[in-house]
Amino acid sequence: MLGYIASRAFRALVTILLVLTFAFFILNATGDPAILILSADAPPEAIEAFREEWGLNAPLWKQYLGYLWNLAHGELGRSMRDGRDAWAVVSERIPVTLAITIPALIIKLVIGISAGIVAALWRDTWVDRLVMAFSVTGYTVPSFVLGLALMLVFAVQLGWLPAAGADSWRHAILPIITLGVAGAAVLARFTRSAMLEVLGQPFIRTGLAKGLVWRAVVIGHAFPNAAIPTLTIAGFMIGSLVAGAVVVESVFAWPGVGRLLVSAVGNRDLMVVQAILLLVTVTMVSANLIVDIVYGFVDPRLRTARGGPARGGT
């Protein structure tokens, strides 16, 4: 088990390092930040001073090592726009984003998993068709369309809720619903197919044959086995808590990490973009790592198997 955890943790670290390296070279290879920020017709002395200040005159590999060195000391650089610490700029947005993504996650888990289970247990009834129709809709309606539709109905037409902004808790309702509905649909579909697959297994028949009641078979045998694929998707959702709301935040002008990213990208604020990338990668990779470790506990077969469980795509 320890070996399993260690190999997973090593992979996670490699992934984070790869993303950082990739991002560093992509972002630095794509234009001179000095010119991007100061504009091309700035006086040469100003550009030179800017390059000097940000260490842009050093060769790229030196900048890269310097970046890693600072990173290892917990320094993520300063925003090239306003000179504030990049991490401070990013971290003050995190609670704002979590204020909508955590309630949305709870909605996704509660509605998505229970709808998926109900649909699988009552397969081919009207309940199942209803859940699947809802789920397909959630798959195919882009979140910005859903958000705008909710806004049109509940804010513009009915006037019950504010359309955009973040001044009160009432502003959070529409973004939370938008995020929650889409995620619940995805989760319902996965839970349903996982349950159906498990319910078709011989050990379910064995359980029934040895005289267990249906309820005991479902709770004792079907749930734990169906939990594994469901866990993957849930882990992915937990990993995207910080940055899974880029589009929805934009729709509702919710001032979280996602909107900061969009504006930092627009402003060419390298350090802030890199800080957000780091934050997002670390959360996603650690969520995956935790899921992998939980897998190891839930399913002893995986501790020894190479490669681990197949990750289901969305």
Binding site: V145, A149, V265, M284
Partner: protein, 293 residues
């Protein structure tokens, strides 16, 4: 699903019922919609009533026919007097072309890497598997955002970037199928009589696993449409003066109170298209390859 093996009672069912069992109405509708938008994008230049960039400042924010408008602008016009229907037709073409090309790119990368992994095994396979895991673990939308913003956005780059989406799933499927196929007689026989690896994989294994790959590609298309329209909605995808469905919705958001029709028709087209392609993809999967999930 072969009709010959059906028990005799089932044979009595009318031809129509048998037809709809093989071709469910939802699938027929979805196929019809796909055929329709495919035709629209092929013949876009003839179908557009106006140039999609043409301004008509005397006729700004005209209402569509279904909202007391006139037939001058069937789906209304926007803030600059551009005809919504013409822009919609142009956008449909743009979004479909992007989705199709980038899925082809993803399939090209995925199939090549999958074959390489299956052929060489060993450390080549380990590297490719590592790359697949890496792709599955990174926040693709965020990285795409960063790349687009810093490279400056051109259509070619955008399509290439979208082509990076989903290759890892195709690579994983290809590798698994190719390894299985190598064990079968036909591939071994082909290489025994001296066929080069390129020939064995391209001319013998590929046709045999094509049905599964087509299903995987079909399921990739709606995802690319959603990704593309999301990025374009944020203003970071297809750049004006070009237009795509997400672009139109993003632009129409400004007028959601005064002129909701600007975003209404592109939003509906996005939903119907992703829905139709998903329905067809699921149906193909059930028909061609029930093992895929």
């Amino acid at each position: 699903m072969s009709d010959a093996s059906l028990p005799s009672t089932e044979v009595e069912t009318s031809g129509r019922r048998r037809f709809f069992r093989a071709w469910p109405p939802a699938v027929l509708l979805a196929l019809a919609w796909i055929a329709f938008i495919a035709l629209v994008s092929i013949f876009a230049d003839w179908l557009k009533p106006y140039d999609f960039m043409a301004l008509d400042l005397r006729d700004r924010l005209a209402e569509p026919v279904f909202m007391d408008g006139t037939f001058r602008h069937l789906l209304g016009s926007d803030e600059l007097g551009r005809d919504v229907l013409s822009r919609l037709i142009e956008s449909v073409r743009m979004s479909l072309v992007i989705a199709f090309l980038s899925t082809l790119i993803a399939a090209g990368i995925g199939v090549s890497l999958g074959f390489l992994a299956a052929h060489f095994r060993g450390w080549v396979e380990q590297i490719i598997l590592g790359a697949i895991d890496f792709m599955a673990a990174i926040p693709f939308l965020i990285i795409a955002l960063a790349v687009l913003a810093f490279f400056g956005n051109t259509l070619t780059l955008f399509i290439l970037l979208m082509g990076m989406h989903g290759w890892e799933r195709i690579a994983r499927i290809t590798r698994g199928l190719a390894i299985a196929a190598k064990e079968q007689g036909y591939a071994a026989a082909a290489s025994e009589i001296g066929a080069s690896p390129f020939r064995v994989y391209g001319a013998h294994i590929l046709p045999n696993i094509a049905s599964t790959l087509i299903v995987a590609m079909t399921l990739n298309i709606p995802e690319v449409i959603l990704l593309e329209s999301g990025l374009s909605f944020l203003g970071l995808g297809v750049q004006p003066p070009l237009t795509s469905l997400g672009n139109m919705v993003g632009y129409g958001r400004e007028y959601i109170q005064t002129a909701p029709w600007i975003l209404l028709s592109p939003a509906v087209v996005i939903i119907l298209t992703t829905l139709a392609v998903s329905v067809v993809g699921d149906w193909l999967r059930d028909r061609l390859d029930p093992t895929l999930r």
